[in-house]
Symmetry: C2
Subunit: 313 residues, 2 copies
């Protein structure tokens, strides 16, 4: 089993340590910032205890035992077959870091970035081993949200994508493969479209922000937690997806035409949304509510696993 090096020990690096440690890998975590590793060690232990309570990790102590903390980059990368970088979201930081990773890592190690928005081509073009670099973008937190978006640069070796895909699958994640670099990768492109439609309705006074949320969480969002949007419409017409689009495509097209341009960051819209949300959740309660969300995600992950076993996937 590959040894895993994790570069960057913030929230995402910590979560990767849990993912790979839980899957049985030896993991070395490194962060250039002094103090980050100590905080990471405590946060990881607390998270593993939560996961154990939901039956989502067996033997949290053994997992902790597989996670090491390196005082230097060379120590972290020593013997690692896969490197997951979760450094700050800056092209400059990543350009410099990938030069260093390429010099220090074993020649056949994969170098993968957790970036949610920067294409690998923009920070790996200049390095000798650019064919072993790609994006492996997780959805936070990856130990309960298994999607990993694998997005190669134009020069990434397809065998490297295959290896990353196999590694993620073995670790219990759900990797998908992009064939070209696009803004936002796959999941956020769909989220962006849905959020845009939601914001337009709030702005136009069609429904309140709270009711827009209910429409998803008490409606169509329920099935999206265990089947995708294309499988969903495939089951919503007697003849499947093509039959569905022949019936409802014109309606969807009409909706698309009806939607005016959206001022995504317009002051009036932001104020309206902020007022609506702060009325339900004061600013000071955002961290507590995020912790609630993660516990609900854990409960859902446990249920989804059980339903897959008893009802089928």
């Amino acid at each position: 089993m590959e040894r895993i090096a994790l570069v960057g020990a913030g929230l995402i690096g910590q979560a990767w340590a849990i993912v790979f440690g839980r899957a049985g890998h030896e993991v070395m975590l490194y962060d250039a910032e002094p103090g980050a590793l100590k905080r990471a060690r405590e946060a990881i232990a607390a998270r593993l205890a939560d996961l154990a309570a939901f039956g989502l990790v067996e033997g949290p102590q053994a997992v902790l035992g597989r996670i090491g903390y390196a005082t230097g980059l060379a120590e972290a990368l020593d013997g690692a077959g896969y490197v997951q970088e979760s450094a700050p979201e800056s092209v400059e930081v990543k350009r410099e870091l990938y030069g260093e990773l390429d010099r220090v890592a074993a020649p056949d190690a994969i170098l993968a970035s957790s970036t949610s928005g920067i294409p690998a081509s923009s920070f790996t073009e200049h390095i000798a081993g650019r064919q072993r670099c790609l994006v492996a973008h997780p959805i936070n937190p990856p130990f309960v949200t298994p999607l990993v978006e694998l997005c190669p640069a134009p020069w990434t070796d397809p065998a490297v994508v295959d290896r990353a895909h196999a590694l993620m699958t073995r670790a219990g994640q759900a990797p998908i493969r992009l064939n070209k670099e696009v803004q936002g990768f796959v999941a956020n492109r769909m989220q962006a479209a849905l959020i845009g439609a939601a914001l337009r309705m709030v702005e136009d006074g069609v429904a309140s922000a709270a009711d827009v949320d209910v429409a998803i969480k008490a409606g169509i969002g329920l099935r999206w937690s265990f089947m995708g949007p294309l499988e969903t419409i495939d089951l919503n017409a007697p003849g499947g997806i093509a039959d569905y689009l022949r019936r409802y495509g014109p309606l969807y097209q009409a909706i698309e035409r009806e939607q005016g341009p959206l001022g995504w960051t317009a002051d009036a819209l932001l104020r309206k949304l902020d007022e609506a949300r702060r009325a339900v959740l004061p600013s000071g309660e955002l961290p507590g509510r995020s912790a609630w969300r993660d516990r609900r995600l854990m409960a859902l992950a446990a249920q989804k696993r059980q339903a897959a076993e008893t009802i089928g996937e």
Copy 2:
């Protein structure tokens, strides 16, 4: 407790009988088509048995006992305070039917339509009691997908919307309120936007249809099953929703600009999607897979209720 009349005993009418019967209402089901009621009675009994197995209904026999079958419209409407119409999706059919419902129903009974796409204004303008008419659009199947979209016509009495909202809430549904008539109401406008983004990616070869589905069901779709899209982004930046949009609005805007026009019903697209889906699920297995979906929705509804109790809502 209001007596409920259900006009139309197809899949949606049957599901409403379960929703209202489970909530303790006396229900009368009617269908103009001979034979529909016999099929409905059998389907309702089978569905109640499924729901009981998931702990989603107590005393299915008592529920069955509250559901009556009327041989004529006058019998169905006799004493009903709320009428839910689930007739075929045709403006002409509904125009004629609402004239009749308005003549036969008790003067203060609410007349609500299950239509998923026809605004109430287009089939109630001509009738004397048009102020008591509105759309109450369910998501199939409503006994496990609680969203109900209440969409008034311009002449609907706001007190009628309030009464329908209260009735649905007491019945365990999750009603939302539209302030104006728009195509697709609220949920399908968001679904349309997301599906559009998904189809564009398949068409452009960014990712396979299967991987697009994974991006939702193993990613962002998990949290949308218990929190809405606006609450989701409110928790994804330290300062809440306005902070989030200031950070990511420009990316979302760029994605929107990058997306070309979509040929929603173009032959080549439909063929590609059909091939992708039929490779995973042959046409003959569509009904079986839909039954699987409904069992998974039942398991999810049971889990969601439990998680709301133990972790909070």
